[in-house]
Amino acid sequence: AALPCLSLLVSLLLWPAVFFRLFHSSALPQSHFRPSYALFARGCCRKPQQKALVRPTGHRKALSALPFSLKHIFGKQTPHPTHREHCPIPSPAIAHTPTTMTMLKGDTLQERSKGRDVRISNIVAAKALAACVRTSLGPRGMDKLMQLPSGEVLISNDGATILSKMNVLHPAAKMLVECSQSQDIEAGDGTTSVVVLAGALLDACSGLLSKGIHPTMIAGSFYRAAEACCLLLKEAAKPVDLADRDSLIHAVQTCLSSKVVSQNSDLLAPIAVDSVLKILGDDPGSATNVDLRDVRMVEQLGGTVDETELVDGLVFDKGSTKTAGGPSQIDNAKIALIQFCLSAPKTDMDNNVVVSDYAAMDRILRDERKYILNLCKKIKKTGANVVLIQKSILRDAYNELSLHFLAKMGILVVTDIERNDVEFVCRTLGCTPAPHVDSLTPEKLGTAEHVGDVVLPGSGHKVVKFTGVANPGCTSTVLLRGSNDLVLAEANRSVHDAQCVVRSLVKERYLIAGGGAAETEASLRLRELALETTGMDSHCFKAYADALEVIPYTLAENAGLKPIEIVTELRKSHAEGEVGAGIDVKKGRITDMYKQNVIQPLLVTTSAIKLATETVCMILKVDDLVPVYG
């Protein structure tokens, strides 16, 4: 009789609870439980939830072992920073009946573990992304071939480019993509390393989390570790003078060594350095930043990358317009940039010119000619002998008649100047754009010693080149050549990265050894620091230091070397005080990077460390994913 009695008691005890919960569930805001289902159903991020639902006891078992392991790790320290979620708090309400307790305890844990699952899911996704770009790190990195939905094909080695095209779905992975993008904006180089580093840090986090350390504690320690790293690196870095062109070139060559165009780095590195130094003006020492939009890249298919050149002046990617047989070479050019149209005015849609007399027909024809002739004469009167015509979408920017007149006046015509290029052109040539023919005055003309068509050997394409321009120090132009579209586009990205390296040096004038030397040095010093501190910082610093070694590790791995051997050897060299020791990928051993001239701007490394840490901390602090459906 005791048994039914007990079961009755239990069921009685349970019923209100069940009812309450049923009522509760419908009253609860949907978002409270729906997200997890939704995520699970999407099949992409919430796999763990399913396990949690069916195995509450397993969790309990695993967790009961935790306090011991924590004690084991932290010695006699009080486990105050332990993860709250893993500390089953005995609630007074559930402590009474064992049955309820079992069930509710399981549920509690499962519910509580949601934050952890979200975190793990985020970490897994972000790590997958990092693993994807890992193979393109370093001089022996490989390329990715991407086929875009439009059918376009892209071959790239640049982390930021690959990630931005990849159309990543997972929100946490997206954060990593953006992190790579900000590295691209901030430093321009190291876009792959920042993602790889973030991946390694996340890996370290999952280790720390499984030990039961609270995410905010990890985040705090990681921030401090990143700061410490930056300081340590700055100590290890060597200051550089912008006048020291050789050092800049070496830094740029290091950056280019991982690109498709690496065999052309002897040619491209000086081009990249000079193109940026040129726009710094006379006093490069005082510049704090440089706008890379002042460097114009003109791509021309044909030839090989070897034929790329830095143009002293300006180049347009098409030749002058010669349909009416105008000149194609002009010395001592006076250049007018016009934004008005050299064509017959059009009537509005509603208005019409009405002809009721045959004599009026002649008048219309003559007036049209006179109108255009007048425009051309006014241009000629200012003394211009080169006219750049801005592209117009409203009506024809030029017609055969105007080209004919301009040709007869001996004026070289370049048409279809993009609106976006106008400012650049003006700054280079020292001209002011004229929106109307009456505002075109001789003061608005720009000058150049020579303007002329140049036939590019190989493809036979023509470009128009301006040399001896009015403001040579303001802008620079790089004429890129390549044997196919893919190589050309990649060369463009690589030269841009190279210019960013120079820009980083303008921003922060320190160089540090590459080839994994900087990361190993930071890792080693941080490990020393970890020994000097106590508490959670010490533990997290150590994990952080280990994570930093992913860079030399990956470099070695990509180069087909034995990573463990190389990294340990590297660690030993640094411990012996060889600050510049890094991986010489070509020879497959450890050498002094400063001697090998494998150097990179400090900003690239520090910015990568900072950005990766911040992203990781952000991912770490997320404990719920709430999809909001519109």
Binding site: H32, G43, C44, L104, D107, A128, L373, P457, K465, S483
Partner: protein, 598 residues
């Protein structure tokens, strides 16, 4: 809701999991079905991803498939391909670039090879098949090396150093400098290039035609060209002799009928595929000693003048209509009279001529042709020293025809060829220009002759510009292979194996040549290599390094003496392009295909 009991939410979830409300979760299930399967990639992207060896093998297989298509058309005994497109149009060709261009290749790696052939076509003009074959062989061997555990980057750097060594060897040892390039050398080169083509049987005839045509368009390089060469630091001797041979000045006209041997070159003349606009016009205009024939080239309409958009003709008096109509005609008539007054005896326009206006020309005894191709007129303008006129406006805003725009020549004749008539312009007074009129049994043959001749013209042009040649028939490849093999032995790093593979890969050219000629490839290539090895190791006989294949006899001979030669620049460029393409593909270890956004 203040701090919900954790237990409550937990239980409710369990219940819901057991009794899902279909209507509420409908969208969720749908999402499950349409969501991409991330498990296969481990990466949450909307698309598919392949990595590592799979990608490399896939790329190499695709590239090999492309190369296999063109393989059998290499060499003098190579065969043609017939390509039929979806609307039934037929193309018969032996030209690698043309074959590949016509295939709609989708695989991105294979597309790199197609681009490679196109590049070779535009930069060199000849050797499009061999460049694809070399690239695919390099890829195949590269992939095998990767499978054997050599890192792709090692292969890449090995290929690069092999290329460097090969190019410097060609420049130092193989190149024959021809100081005074005789017609004989030029014709040999042209003959070699066309030997594999449809006109190979009549190569003596066509090679002479090609050489004459290119020589006739010789002109001094313009400032723009010189600036281009100087800026690029180009080392070709084109800078020094300052001549160029614009192939665009050679006009190739195709007229079917008769045999290919009836094709002819109009030296210093120009033919335009257009006929007189009216029967009443004379069929020929001859110059007198004091006055050459003047030609007006127009790029404007000689039809009744119509008012532009936005102009409306509204008349009150019906009698005005006639006046307006008359005026419309008269505007054109006045223009024609101005052209005639300027002294034009021949008027060619890209646009139409009104039938009513025809009578003015007929009365003046002028040949007029309409609907000419704009590009042809531009060339003719260059050839006759005139200009294409786009508008007749003068600097006062009135209309006038500038006599300076007229071109001059000795005579213009309408000649009947095949089914149609053509206007032949003889004795052009401007820059050189010439026209080749091709005859042949059918359109396909004419098209293929055109392509073959174009290749030969390119070869002759390169020869004239660079003055250097190398022996063909696999001689250069065999010599390079032996040299690179030796060079590999001086390298003590992992690149050694790679350079050896590169050396072996080059042998694919003589091998394929021999296979296509149904000869014993292994034996011939072995003989060839042994001869070259002898030449490079001590034997002073200079002819040894020029030894190549004789595909008709199936033996080895001195190809320089036999007149099988190619321009050195094209050999160097094709090696460079092929290596670059192979490297581009070998560097890929990841392929991501993205789905279109929904």
């Amino acid at each position: 809701m203040s701090a919900p009991n954790p237990a409550s939410t937990g239980l409710s979830r369990t219940l819901i999991a057991r009794q899902p409300y279909p209507h509420r979760h409908h969208n969720i299930y749908r999402a499950t079905m349409s969501a991409p399967n991330p498990a296969s990639t481990g990466l949450f992207i909307n698309g598919t991803r392949e990595t590592g060896q799979d990608v490399r093998t896939g790329n190499v297989t695709a590239a090999l498939a492309v190369a296999n298509i063109v393989k059998t058309s290499l060499g003098p005994v190579g065969l043609d391909k017939m390509l039929v497109d979806d609307i039934g149009d037929v193309l018969i060709t032996n030209d690698g670039a043309t074959i590949l261009k016509s295939l709609e290749v989708e695989h991105p790696a294979a597309r790199v090879l197609v681009d490679l052939a196109n590049l070779q076509d535009s930069e060199v003009g000849d050797g499009t098949t061999s460049v694809v074959i070399i690239a695919s062989e390099l890829l195949r061997r590269g992939n095998d090396l990767v499978k054997n555990g050599i890192h792709p980057t090692t292969i890449i750097s090995g290929y690069r150093s092999a290329l460097k060594a090969a190019v410097s060897y060609i420049k130092k040892e193989m190149v024959v400098h021809v100081d005074n390039l005789g017609d004989e050398h030029l014709m040999n080169a042209a003959r070699t290039s066309m030997s594999s083509k449809i006109i190979g049987k009549e190569s003596d005839f066509f090679s002479k035609m090609a050489v004459d045509a290119v020589k006739s368009v010789k002109m001094t390089a313009t400032a723009a060209d010189v600036a281009g060469y100087e800026a690029m630091g180009s080392s070709t001797s084109a800078t020094s002799n300052k001549h160029k041979y614009p192939l665009s000045a050679i006009h190739i006209l195709k007229a079917h009928g008769k045999s290919s041997m009836e094709s002819h070159l109009i030296d210093g003349g120009f033919a335009i595929n257009a006929m007189r606009a009216a029967q009443g016009m004379p069929t020929m205009v001859e110059s007198t000693p004091e006055a050459p024939v003047k030609i007006a080239m127009l790029d404007m309409n000689l039809q009744r003048h119509r008012m532009g958009m936005g102009v409306q003709v509204i008349v009150k008096d019906p009698a005005e209509i006639e006046n307006i109509k008359k005026r419309e005609m008269d505007i054109t008539k006045e223009r024609i009279n101005k052209i005639i007054d300027a002294g034009a005896k021949v008027v060619l326009t890209t646009k139409g001529v009104d039938d009513l206006c025809m009578k003015y020309f007929v009365e003046a005894g002028i040949i007029c042709a309409r609907r000419c191709v704009r590009e042809d007129l531009k060339r003719l303008a260059k050839a006759t020293g005139g200009r294409v006129v786009t508008t007749m406006a003068d600097m006062e805003g009135n209309e006038a025809f500038d006599a300076d725009c007229l071109g001059a020549c000795d005579s213009v004749r309408e000649v009947r060829i095949g089914d149609g008539e053509m206007l032949y312009v003889y004795g052009c007074k401007g820059h050189g220009a010439s026209t080749i009129v091709l005859r042949g049994a059918n359109e396909y043959m004419l098209d293929e002759m055109d392509r073959a001749l174009h290749d030969s013209l390119c070869v002759v042009k390169r020869m004239l510009e660079s003055n250097t040649l190398v022996p063909g028939g696999g001689a250069a490849e065999a010599a390079l292979s032996v040299h690179l093999d030796d060079y590999a032995h001086t390298i003590d790093s992992r690149e050694q194996v790679v350079i050896q593979e590169y050396a072996d890969a080059l042998l694919v050219i003589p091998k394929t040549l021999a296979v296509n000629a149904a000869k014993d490839a292994s034996e011939l290539v072995a003989k060839l290599r042994s001869v070259h090895a002898k030449g490079q190791h001590g034997d002073d006989d200079p002819s040894l390094k020029y030894m190549g294949l004789d595909l008709i006899e199936g033996s080895i001979r001195d190809n320089l003496k036999a007149g099988v030669v190619e321009p050195a620049i094209s050999k160097i460029k094709s090696l460079r392009f092929a290596t670059e393409a192979a490297i581009t593909i070998l560097r890929i270890d990841d392929r991501i295909t993205l789905n279109a956004a929904q």
